[in-house]
């Protein structure tokens, strides 16, 4: 039961074009895992398929051995930041409060306790002073912290984040990675789609390296190797290794 996410022989295609092919891996509880690979490798697709947001052709995904339908409330998702209407009439605090909806279910409104909890989650990401701002008034990094606070508000066991560090300031990135590490230390499972290879070794415990199909998975030091990286990115990584391979 210590496997929190298990993916078996997952295939996904868009309009008949194969996007990810036969991906199999599993993740242990209490791990901070990076999903890396070149552009168009299917990283976001993989995360969406895991969440059941897009149809899959074949394969199975389970969480603690159960299908997503039974555990949805325990899975928090932070999508790419671009997919939001930033002029929407909603405040920072109300945005975080959305994270309590899965637990509330139909017809129940957020209580005073829920609202306090939302403010506490904002405090965690250092954004409680912005709680009455409209979300469009924030910088990119501040927005990302608010969406992480919404994920925290869900009291989830598994966190999936899609490119959380794109286009944000250094301070926000530090805040976010520290919280993710803290979640990991509390025994939660955290999956992050990530593209900045320079930080990989500092940030993650395990890696899932893919380029349409799984190249390698395991602890960072085993996966972040010249051999596998070259295979995934189909180019050289001289900074990683002294041995140069001609293209």
């Amino acid at each position: 039961m210590d496997k929190s996410v298990t993916v078996r022989h997952l295939h996904v295609s868009y309009y008949g074009k194969e996007v990810i092919r036969d991906i199999t891996f599993s993740i242990e509880r209490g791990k901070l895992v990076g999903i890396i690979g070149p552009n168009g490798a299917g990283k976001s697709t993989l995360i969406k398929a895991i969440l059941g947001l897009i149809p899959t052709d074949r394969g199975a995904v389970t969480f603690f051995g159960k299908p997503i339908k039974e555990v949805r409330k325990k899975i928090a998702y932070v999508p790419q930041r671009s997919q939001i209407d930033w002029d929407f009439p909603i405040t920072v605090q109300d945005t975080v409060l959305l994270g309590t909806y899965p637990r509330l279910g139909l017809f129940r409104r957020p209580s005073k306790a829920d609202k306090k909890w939302a403010v506490k989650c904002l405090h965690e990401v250092g954004m409680e002073h912005f709680k009455n701002k409209q979300i469009g008034e924030l910088s990119g990094g501040q927005q990302q912290r608010v969406f992480l606070a919404r994920a925290l508000a869900q009291r989830a066991e598994i966190f999936l984040l899609d490119e959380p560090f794109v286009g944000i300031d250094v301070a926000s990135e530090k805040t976010i990675i520290n919280i993710l590490k803290q979640l990991r230390d509390e025994g939660k499972t955290v999956l992050v789609v990530h593209h900045d290879l320079a930080k990989v070794e500092d940030y993650f415990d395990d890696l899932i390296l893919l380029n349409k199909e799984l190249i390698q998975t395991g602890p960072v030091r085993d996966v972040f190797q010249q051999e596998y990286m070259t295979k995934a990115f189909q180019s050289d990584f001289p900074f990683m290794n002294k041995v140069e391979v001609g293209v």
């Binding site: 969440l51 947001l53 339908k69 949805r72 899975i75 998702y77 999508p79 997919q83 939001i84 209407d85 929407f88 009439p89 909603i90 405040t91 109300d94 945005t95 959305l98 909806y101 899965p102 509330l104 139909l106 017809f107 409104r109 409209q134 919404r150």
Partner: protein, 284 residues
């Protein structure tokens, strides 16, 4: 103004007109808030036009026009969704194709039907001729719409703001979309008598857009929008009665005046203040 109040007290037809148009103002303001935030302003226009064949067929077979109108409104919403999802045709084109086809069909059917249906009354509305049964229909529709918005407020809020996360939370976003289309169709049918097919879209989007310029909270926006809708209806009805003008058009123009005032002078979004702030920055 005092004359108007006296007339309202004296004439039953005026009471009915006032009540009906205020309810229409409120519910179209409420639904309109969601419609504009979802970027579906055109959809409101489309559904209001698409119900025309439903009205015609209802008269042909001697039914209340309400049923035919609702069926056609929903068929149009489904058709638009189908065309835009199953082909590369963009959604605004899909809306245009489907609603003009429905509207054209409606015109022909109404001509063929040779009924007492006055095309002009459907197109432009005539709130002063509202019958008691129409008034009750509007009241019932109003109650249903407000009840459902109240019950599913959370779901409408989150699916409008963030469809991706709604799906991740396991909400049936497609069904919620079509449910909103049902409510939109009901509101459109209720608005027929007051402002007519052509101007329904104005009642849906103008008060909501006015409210949108004034607040950063959806709940406040909905109340403001309903308020502007109702106020436009009352003032518009008064002016139309006083100066003997077409009620629907006057109501829409009053709503537009509120919008212009907000557009110019909204504390945060008003272009007058924005200009002044820019000018101050440049001067200093």
């Amino acid at each position: 103004m005092v004359d108007f109040i006296n007339d309202v007290i004296a004439y039953e037809f005026l009471q009915k007109a006032l009540l009906t148009s205020v309810i229409v103002g409120i519910i179209s303001g409420v639904i309109g808030s969601f419609i504009i935030l979802r970027g579906m302003a055109l959809m409101g226009d489309a559904i209001s036009h698409a119900i025309l064949p439903g009205v015609a067929i209802s008269y042909m077979i001697g039914m209340n026009y309400f049923y035919g109108a609702v069926v056609m409104g929903l068929l149009a919403a489904l058709g638009i969704g189908f065309v835009s999802q199953k082909s590369r045709v963009k959604s605004d084109s899909a809306i245009g194709i489907v609603f003009s086809a429905f509207f054209a069909l409606g015109i022909i059917l109404l001509m063929k039907a040779q009924t007492a249906v006055d095309l002009e009354a459907i197109l432009f509305g005539n709130v002063l001729s509202v019958r008691t049964s129409d008034m009750w229909l509007t009241i019932i529709i109003g109650a249903i719409v407000l009840l459902f918005i109240f019950l599913f407020y959370k779901e409408f809020l989150i699916t409008t703001f963030d469809p991706t996360i709604s799906k991740a939370y396991g909400l049936p976003t497609q069904w919620i979309h079509y449910f909103l289309m049902v409510l939109l169709t009901l509101v459109t049918v209720a608005s027929l008598q007051t402002v007519g097919v052509i101007l329904v879209v104005a009642m849906l989007i103008t008060p909501a857009s006015t409210a949108y310029l004034l607040t950063n909270r959806l709940s406040t926006m909905i109340f403001l929008s309903a308020g502007f809708g109702a106020l436009s209806a009352v003032v518009g009805l008064y002016l139309s009665f006083r100066y003997n003008l077409t009620s629907g058009a006057v109501i829409v123009l009053v709503a537009t005046v509120f919008f212009i005032i907000a557009f110019l002078f909204s504390p945060q979004q008003g272009i007058v203040w924005q200009r002044l702030r820019t000018w101050k920055h440049k001067a200093s």
